[in-house]
Symmetry: C2
Subunit: 474 residues, 2 copies
């Protein structure tokens, strides 16, 4: 198969469908003040953290219940008008853009933690709950939810993109941590996938089919997640390396040794500088690993000793410890804000974000040349990596008004993805396909797998009203 990646459009194709006044009238009747047609509200729901800009949705419904979602979808289905679920608006891949027009269904008001089953290490939430709000709500139980994308994303959005973050190296991604879902289908019907049991062989895994389906197969209205006991002991440290290569090779060995490290994050020198400026820190401005260890006091001590020995082998400096919970929070908040630190470093820029993930042994091959190519191009960038997972992000900081810069960034992106695929990796570890990686998906999985995805989509959403235009062309 020979798929040309250069066919990937530099701007998304916008082909809006007409929204009949009768639908707006019916939505208005049903939803009253929960419906907004205001330009500012529509625009707010028609953009995300991606670099694209397209016309906003035709209307926004502020859903307050599964029944609201169901009724909105039923009305839209009558007129074959698109519906786009909206959580926190923090997608970096254009998931929220109304490329075919339609109704944005904002689930932000569905923000209740419905049931904490501490005795089973599970929690059931509405989709608009954010990851920080969830952890606040369960704090008193001694449990926590580890998945932490950079933004304070909604749990619904995190399901939809199969998100992960800094703790995934130990705790897995949304794929491993969602037990059950309530989903409104394309016809407006409410279905249930899964139970609170830890494992099940009861039929097709609809839960995991929905996780990562980016709003194209259903709208999530209730989510049951795994929780974990807060570790008895937590230690966090940074370690500087003279070169990026040494930091990456130390990481590879940490993972290959089977150390159950909880976080293993990499910043290059350029990015450390941006983070220092943004978060008012004074981290040493060279390649930096940020690590966290969870376990019993003795277990954590063992992990630390092993990792210190590996780091020393690769010329790593002495560990700098974040001693108090406050210091740890400061460190990880700075890491989570690396994206915004990058954005701030070039006022007015937009970010094109890469998200390749490769088998751990190929991480140096994938990452180092990609950084060198970027530096050679002259495009400003930041580089952060969930390197324990073999996943890293280049953020190309482009002038949105410069077609040349966009083209250069896309070229870098293509080279990076091709390299990752050749090394047995994936074009997206955690951000999703959205508008921007449709060509990459085809190259990665082949025509047959994408045809199977299309067949599923067509079977479950025959009128293509659920977030159309994302993941693949129909």
């Amino acid at each position: 198969m020979n798929v040309s990646l250069t066919s990937e459009p530099l701007r998304p194709v916008v082909q809006t469908r007409p929204v009949p006044p009768a639908l707006i009238e019916a939505l208005s009747q049903r939803f009253g003040k929960q419906l907004s047609l205001a330009q500012v509200v529509r625009e707010q729901h028609g953009r995300d953290e991606s670099s694209f800009s397209v016309p906003p949705p035709d209307a926004v419904v502020f859903a307050e219940s599964a029944q609201d979602v169901s009724d909105a979808v039923k009305l839209a289905a009558q007129y074959k008008v698109p519906v786009i679920p909206f959580g926190a608006g923090s997608s970096v891949e254009g998931h929220l853009l109304a490329v075919q027009g339609g109704i944005s269904i904002d689930v932000g008001r569905m923000n209740q933690v419905l049931a904490i089953h501490a005795e089973d290490l599970t929690v059931t939430v509405q989709p608009g709950v954010t990851r920080k709000a969830l952890n606040e709500a369960v704090k008193s139980t001694g449990l926590f939810f580890p998945i932490d994308p950079g933004a304070d994303a909604s749990i619904g959005g995190m399901c939809a993109t199969r998100a992960s973050g800094t703790n995934a190296v130990r705790y897995g991604t949304m794929r491993e941590n969602v037990l059950a879902l309530d989903v409104v289908t394309a016809s407006g019907e409410l279905i249930h996938t899964g139970t609170r049991a830890k494992k099940s062989s009861a039929g097709y895994d609809l839960t995991r089919l929905m996780v990562g389906s980016e709003g194209t197969l259903g709208i999530l209205t209730e989510i049951t997640l795994k929780l974990y006991p807060l570790p008895e002991a937590v230690m966090a440290a940074t370690c500087s390396f003279a070169s990026l290569a040494e930091a990456v090779n130390a990481t590879i060995q940490i993972i290959q040794m089977g150390v159950p490290i909880a976080r293993c994050e990499l910043l290059d020198a350029v990015t450390v500088r941006m983070v220092n400026t943004h978060s008012k820190l004074s981290l040493p401005e060279s390649a930096l690993l940020l690590m966290e260890f969870h376990g019993s006091p003795a277990g954590v001590q063992e992990q630390v000793e092993t990792v210190q020995a590996i780091a020393a082998e690769f010329g790593g400096d002495t560990f700098e410890w974040a001693h108090t919970p406050e210091e740890r929070t400061r460190l990880w908040t700075a890491r989570h804000n690396a994206y915004f630190a990058g954005v701030q470093s070039r006022p007015g820029c937009k970010v094109i974000s890469t998200d390749a993930c490769v088998p751990i042994s190929r991480l140096a091959d994938a990452l180092l040349d990609s950084v060198l190519e970027t530096q050679a191009s002259g495009i400003p960038y930041f580089m952060v990596g969930h390197v324990g997972d073999g996943n890293f992000h280049m953020g190309y900081l482009i002038d949105p008004n410069s077609p040349e810069e966009r083209a250069t960034a896309e070229q870098l992106n293509h080279q990076l993805v091709r390299r990752a695929l050749a090394l047995g990796g994936t074009c997206t570890g955690e951000h999703g396909v959205g508008l921007h990686k449709k060509g990459f998906l085809l190259e990665e999985t082949g025509v047959g797998a994408v045809a199977m995805m299309r067949a599923i989509k067509t079977a479950l959403d025959p009128d293509n009203i659920l977030n159309p235009g994302k993941i693949f062309e129909l």
Copy 2:
């Protein structure tokens, strides 16, 4: 919704489709000696460990490559004749039974370990490799594959049923441990799902859609799995309790405390007796926990101390240690053979196996009454549990010629499943739905979710040739 479970047939509906001589002729031309029409071969491929007996498939193709599987499916598809993948024949739910006739595709000869990537903790195998053969093949790398259903099942079959076993409490099930698949679809096309990257957000999760689909969506021809470092330290112990309730409640507390126990298995006194007889052991004949601890020496020691303290709280006896690797192997082999120990205890019997799995806090509620009801019924039984996962099996040892015993066992089964569902659990933790749990699946997930499964099946296999009659009615 009100679904009557008593509508579950006590015998499967057999409705074979005609297999035209032209298909047999074409298969014979293509496959020569790899095709068998012999009665004994067909019968061997038309039964499994379930209690049902139906006519065998019309022919058996011994596939030796993905191309063989593809060609066999293409020929069968031309004539709309069913194809049933066959691995080790160890299903307990009738997955292999040719209830609509057709061609059994035996992948047992596809038994090569294709690529061991020790540096990435992954391995790629053909579907006919068994779990024991896999572990033999990777032993020299210091890695292992933890998933271990009772039988020496094939990896393909374990994918198809989303199997787990004794290590799942720590290492997860096939759901968590399959990275990528090659699949022959209903049209005979070969597709690829996933890469060797540890995580991905690249489109619909076809890998996990296939895992647990019981041969109804495709036939697996290549499987990439996660491997784990052999733990530095392993300790295994048994602990006896005066009552089943105390053993179960100790288990609940072990899990709730977050102990990363590697195995936590329960046998009741009746079953210990059967195992002692079958495996020539002298385990104390009362409720028994079999446990294993993996980690660093210090980590294992910590786990053992915590669990000993919990066990003592519930009146558990002093731990009996399996000191050597040979003693450990003997203990776990005996546990894996508990099913056969049960069968041997009543010559000529057939087993109806339950497989409920509940949230850990509800395990006592689910398990204890089910054992009492079974004892009251007079039906001989065995009881084993992957209790760390909230999963347990009653094996009703019925006289296959006694409709009364079958009816009583089914009644017990229904009561047990209803109880598990009411407690937030699932009807099947690891065996799959097959022929026998279709009514239970409907009750568990509801009409809407099963309708979605049907829509997917119909989209991907419009002529219903892939293992028809399993999971749900069409």
